[in-house]
Symmetry: C2
Subunit: 201 residues, 2 copies
């Protein structure tokens, strides 16, 4: 198995984190933002939707989209609930992450983090993203204030998925994480897991 | 079962379409954009992420996110592949839809369609969304030019999911659908299915 992975991106990190927690190996092919390696992977047709991460199976078949890769690699493990409703709740958080959380929490961080994007970080846009990002983090806090995990009683792929961009939301995105004690405890729980690897490990 | 459903929204329509194709019934509760019914559903805590659609089970449990509802209702039907890789490909399209397609194709349509949002439809934004929406439609076309369905050899939830906003992309979004013959044939295939219901039916 190979993973086309963008080292700086939360979407790619999610997959590396799941592999680490499962004790599974994949050959990691770095395709950083604005590098030749990324351009080459695109030109060679290895990134079907034009983005990393992409999982390449041993027979060459490709699978794009971080959360679909989590579902593929996680199938049959303890991170995927067997109860149909809890399973669907896990997916609700994961679709919400791609639709709402990523477009606010991750985008604000990216506008600050990547020098090439700073011209898009107008004061109006950054203020809007601060408000909408805090509102999305509050939706997570509402759940995590009195539950250990996002869906059901155990850790699922939804927690790995949302950890990707949430654990750097303060440092990279400039969000005020002191408002979200439930999220902070949840981040501590995940980062203390056996096998855990950080974003830059 | 009850479905909190926004009549004008492709996300809510996807779920109504799946119910129709499966011959299943749910009580449809209309929560149109900027109506008292929507405000009431939010105030009553019936929309956990603040948006429609939401499925309410007979015991009162709630499930938000259109694509998670499709997965919940579709489990065990012919619309969900049993092969793990094709299943994951179906999810790739569905996550991509929430992350890329909806934020361009559906957003451009919404800015034109809802009078309350027209002040956001600046010429610059509409031009940007036209370019990015066409690029996303081209990704679908690349697949549908020589395949009947998005994932594997049979229709899956991915087709229902992407049909939601794609079938009105020309009329509502102003996209040039003459560029995409594969998509147009796929739209015809879906709208000819037994049990099919249109957006306004």
């Amino acid at each position: 198995m190979k993973l086309y992975s963008m080292p700086s991106s939360g979407n790619s990190y999610k997959v590396r984190l799941l592999l680490a927690l499962l004790g599974r190996n994949a050959e990691i092919l770095d395709v950083e933002y604005q590098t030749d390696a990324l351009d080459r992977a695109k030109a060679d047709g290895r990134l079907p939707f034009g983005k990393a991460p992409v999982l390449e199976l041993d027979d060459g078949r490709l699978l794009p989209e971080s959360d679909a890769i989590l579902c593929f690699l996680g199938a049959g493990t303890d991170f995927v609930p067997t109860d149909p409703y809890v399973h669907a709740q896990m997916l609700s958080w994961m679709f919400w992450e791609q639709n709402q959380h990523e477009g606010t929490v991750a985008v604000r961080a990216a506008l600050s983090f990547y020098p090439q994007r700073r011209h898009l970080a107008t004061p109006e846009r950054m203020a809007e993203l601060l408000t909408s990002g805090h509102a999305n983090l509050q939706i997570m806090e509402n759940r995590l204030a009195d539950h250990d995990w996002l869906a059901g009683d155990n850790m699922t792929l939804a927690d790995i998925c949302l950890y990707g961009y949430t654990h750097t939301a303060g440092e990279r995105g400039g969000f005020d994480m002191s408002r979200f004690p439930g999220i902070n405890h949840w981040i501590q729980r995940i980062s203390a897991l056996p096998g855990y690897k950080g974003l830059n490990e």
